[in-house]
């Protein structure tokens, strides 16, 4: 195991192996029958990959629902600023941001599983579950994740656009006869992509990591549950691998957001 080497060397050895798809071995391997003298440990990769797939499916569906919805709600709230629609949308979004995931999750269970039994409370899936069945079983966790991130993204989209609405080129666009819709979509939105992409990136990362709680509530076999379980079992290699995956998610998503910021800004894209 190389325990004779200094910790720094071991860490970089581990990191080097990660890039070759080897996360090391789990401490809690019990795959071989007792009495067997051979290797009884399990590879961390084998533990993580199916769980990661499940989590990516969950957050992917939630993102496909939440991102377009929050953009539409944010843009329309900016379009009808200070209307009753705008006020109620920003008000309700404040409530959804403030409620913790588990609370939102239990409200959904109460409403859509207990009072009106439409969806199952437990989202157990395995490799044999069909796609349609997966959608059906993960409906409640997807709704929960959507709701907790929707408000933040919507409010940010709205305020990024409203910020730009006070610029001189917006007044100029109005004075050249542009309609409200054209002013928002053609003149304000292209300049608002950078902050919007930033907040979407943070929320997507939050979804992936916030799914720890949601997975627990709905007993969903995702990477979040795996990590919590491994912490209980003192299964350090698995926890370490999960931490690395979560951290790099943040970094990569933020990098993508920065790239979008550069691409959407002609000042950065085309030099003087």
């Amino acid at each position: 195991m190389g325990l004779d080497k200094p910790p720094v060397t071991r860490y970089f050895d581990w990191l080097g192996n990660v890039f070759q798809g080897d996360f090391g071995s789990s401490f809690s391997g019990r795959s071989k029958v007792q009495g067997d003298q051979g290797d009884r440990s399990r590879e961390v990769v084998g533990l993580i990959v199916p769980r990661l797939k499940n989590t990516l499916f969950l957050t992917g569906v939630a993102a496909l629902l939440a991102v377009p919805l929050s953009l539409i709600l944010g843009i329309s709230a900016a379009l009808y600023r200070n209307s009753y629609y705008d006020r109620s949308a920003t008000g309700v979004s404040l409530v959804t941001i403030s409620s913790p995931e588990f609370f939102t999750a239990y409200i959904f269970i109460l409403l859509l599983a207990t009072l009106f039994p439409v969806f199952p409370t437990i989202s157990n899936v395995d490799e044999d579950t069909t796609l349609i069945e997966r959608f059906y079983r993960t409906a409640l966790p997807v709704f929960t994740l959507t709701l907790v991130t929707l408000g933040h993204m919507m409010r940010m989209t709205r305020s990024a656009i409203i910020n730009i609405l006070s610029s001189e080129y917006i007044e100029m666009a109005k004075l050249s006869g542009a309609s409200r819709y054209e002013v928002i979509v053609k003149h304000a939105l292209p300049n608002a992509w950078a902050p919007i992409a930033q907040v979407i990136a943070i929320n997507l990362a939050y979804m992936l990591i916030g799914s720890v709680v949601v997975e627990y509530v709905f007993n969903y076999q995702g990477i979040g549950r795996l990590m919590v379980g491994s912490v209980y079992n003192r299964d350090l290699p698995v926890v370490q691998a999960c931490a690395l995956i979560f951290a790099s998610t943040y970094v990569i998503l933020n990098l993508i957001a920065d790239l979008i910021g550069i691409i959407s800004n002609p000042r950065l894209l085309y030099p003087k």
């Binding site: 610029s167 001189e168 080129y169 007044e171 100029m172 666009a173 109005k174 004075l175 050249s176 006869g177 542009a178 309609s179 054209e182 003149h187 292209p190 300049n191 959407s264 800004n265 002609p266 000042r267 085309y270 003087k272």
Partner: protein, 537 residues
């Protein structure tokens, strides 16, 4: 410039009252102004900031800024009352029949779209012609506005062209749907004088070419004299007087109108001193890898005023930064009162720092908005002289009196002061250190003419009383005439010439000084025409 009687009335604004909401209450911005404009005529609207001229210009389109509302009055454009139209009906007129050219072209173009797309957007929206024909027409407009590379300039983004070019492209944008009326709202105020001449000439020729009526809004009487057939003077939302351009210039009736060019009449006799307060010797300076100052040498005589003039990018503000130590020079040395100064700010002694003070262009951003006048002026007194308590307060009041304010200002915040008062507080803050040299970086360019005059007079008085030396950085030749003893002309990071005011302002000039001086608008309606004739010959 034919007689108005034979022409058809295009716009008539009757008894316009507009209120604006700010500081938690409604203020009257316009108090019953009338305006008439005939087809093909250019009307100049002038006044100081807050006179309501911009509001009037926008109201001519039936538009008010958010937070403003039209209380009373009629706006008849081509016989239709714009105040009675719905938003949708007004939008059909905006951009196509009435176009608007804003002050800051750099801020008024959408940074996300190409210039061509923005130029033809209004005409394209109204589907006046096919997109290809509109583009072809826009290129012709660019050409007649003498834009370089007129075929391809439309494919660039706003940040890729200069301020003067953007202002001309905005004129092309206004002209693209061939409107009947264009509102020019201070279109050249943000430009250098040398660029201003080109833009003015281009705008005038294109307006004449298509016989478009225009309202030209500015605070600069000399500029409006080149453009307008008729001039209307506004003050505090009311009309002061209106007359034909020539009549207004030769025979203004109201005192207020005369005071509008008062700075231009302020003249100071020049003096010099062979003893130097500050000598800059062969300075080079750079921002990162781009070099901005090349072998600059300037001598500042003790107790006198040296004006550094030049257009934006000439290196005049950079010179100030080098003197203060904010930007260390890469070569050369600065001798202050006989001793060399350290290049770096951190290495200068407190005493050296005290003796050189700076006053900035924008008093709004140069003061901490959360500090009272007492704290702003009191800090340098405490910091440099260690004076505290009662003595400090007495000193602050003394300084306030010096800048012609009184102790009732002690507890005010910068937001409770007018622009001129803010700049006075900044002057007092500089004086509080009891300096030998004050660098004034465009201190009057953000102020109105009358306020400018007050500040310049105050600075002169302070020099007489305290013997302080000034370096006066400016692009405005009228200010230079009013305050300086010596002049340094800078261009592209180099000193073009330096000498006594009388020597620099009178011929013979080097080429650049000639260009700069001849570009300063004069109170003569034929000035631009004569200048263009002279330059083309």
């Amino acid at each position: 410039m034919t007689s108005n009687n034979s022409k058809e009335l295009l716009l008539e604004m009757k008894n316009i009252h507009i209120d604006g909401f700010s500081d938690e209450r409604w203020h009257k911005i316009l108090k019953g102004v009338d305006l008439k404009l005939y087809r093909g005529e250019i009307l100049g609207l002038i006044g100081e900031s807050g006179a309501g001229k911009s509001t009037m210009g926008k109201a001519a389109m039936g538009y008010t800024q958010p937070g403003c509302k039209i209380i009373n009055g009629e706006i008849l454009f081509d016989g239709v009352d714009l105040t009675k139209l719905t938003e949708l009906e007004k939008r059909k007129i905006w951009g196509t029949k009435i176009a608007y050219v804003a002050q800051s072209a750099a801020a008024s173009f959408n940074p996300a779209h190409k210039l061509m797309e923005q130029t033809i957007s209004a005409a394209n929206r109204a589907q006046l012609n096919s997109k290809d024909l509109l583009k072809k027409d826009a290129i012709e407009l660019y050409e007649s506005l003498q834009l370089p590379d007129s075929k391809n300039i439309g494919e660039r983004y706003p940040h890729q062209v200069s301020g003067g070019q953007l202002q001309r492209i905005m004129t092309a944008m206004a002209m693209s749907p061939r409107p009947e009326l264009i509102i020019f709202d201070e279109p050249t105020t943000a430009l250098d004088v040398t660029t201003q001449v080109e833009v003015l000439a281009a705008m005038r020729s294109i307006v004449e070419k298509f016989n478009t009526a225009a309202i030209y809004i500015t605070h600069d009487l000399a500029v409006v004299a080149q453009m307008a057939d008729r001039i209307k003077v506004l003050r505090y939302g009311e009309e002061v007087e209106e007359a034909n351009t020539r009549e207004m210039l030769s025979n203004p009736k109201e005192e207020y109108t005369k005071s509008l060019w008062s700075v231009r009449s302020l003249i100071k006799p020049e003096e010099t001193n062979s003893e130097h307060m500050l000598s800059i010797k062969n300075i080079d300076a750079a921002y990162g890898s781009s070099k901005v100052l090349f072998d600059v040498s300037i001598n500042i005589p003790k107790g006198k005023t040296v004006a550094i003039v030049g257009e934006s990018g000439s290196g005049k503000s950079t010179t100030a930064r080098v003197i203060t130590g904010l930007l260390p020079q890469t070569k050369g040395e600065i001798i202050f009162d006989g001793k060399p100064l350290s290049t770096k700010l951190e290495q200068r002694s407190k005493e050296e720092l005290r003796r050189i003070q700076i006053i900035f262009q924008m008093p709004d951003t140069a003061m901490n908005p959360r500090q009272t006048v007492d704290e702003i002026i009191g800090r340098p007194i405490e910091f440099y002289h260690g004076v505290k308590g009662k003595d400090r307060e007495a000193k602050v009041i003394e300084l306030l009196q010096m800048i012609e304010l009184d102790e009732s200002f002690l507890d005010r915040l910068p937001s409770e002061l007018s622009g001129g008062q803010k700049q006075r507080i900044c002057i007092a803050r500089a004086l509080a250190a009891n300096p030998d040299l004050i660098i004034c970086d465009e201190v009057t360019s953000a102020l109105d003419q009358i306020v400018q005059e007050g500040i310049l007079k105050l600075l002169q008085k302070l020099q007489k009383d305290l013997g302080v030396t000034y370096i006066f950085i400016t692009h405005d030749i009228a200010t230079v005439k009013a305050i300086s003893d010596e002049i340094v002309v800078m261009y592209q990071g180099k000193v073009v010439e330096q000498g006594l005011k009388s020597k620099i302002l009178n011929p013979p000039h080097p080429d650049y000084t000639e260009l700069l001086l001849s570009s300063v608008p004069e109170m003569d309606p034929d000035w631009l025409t004569n200048l263009l004739d002279k330059r083309s010959s």
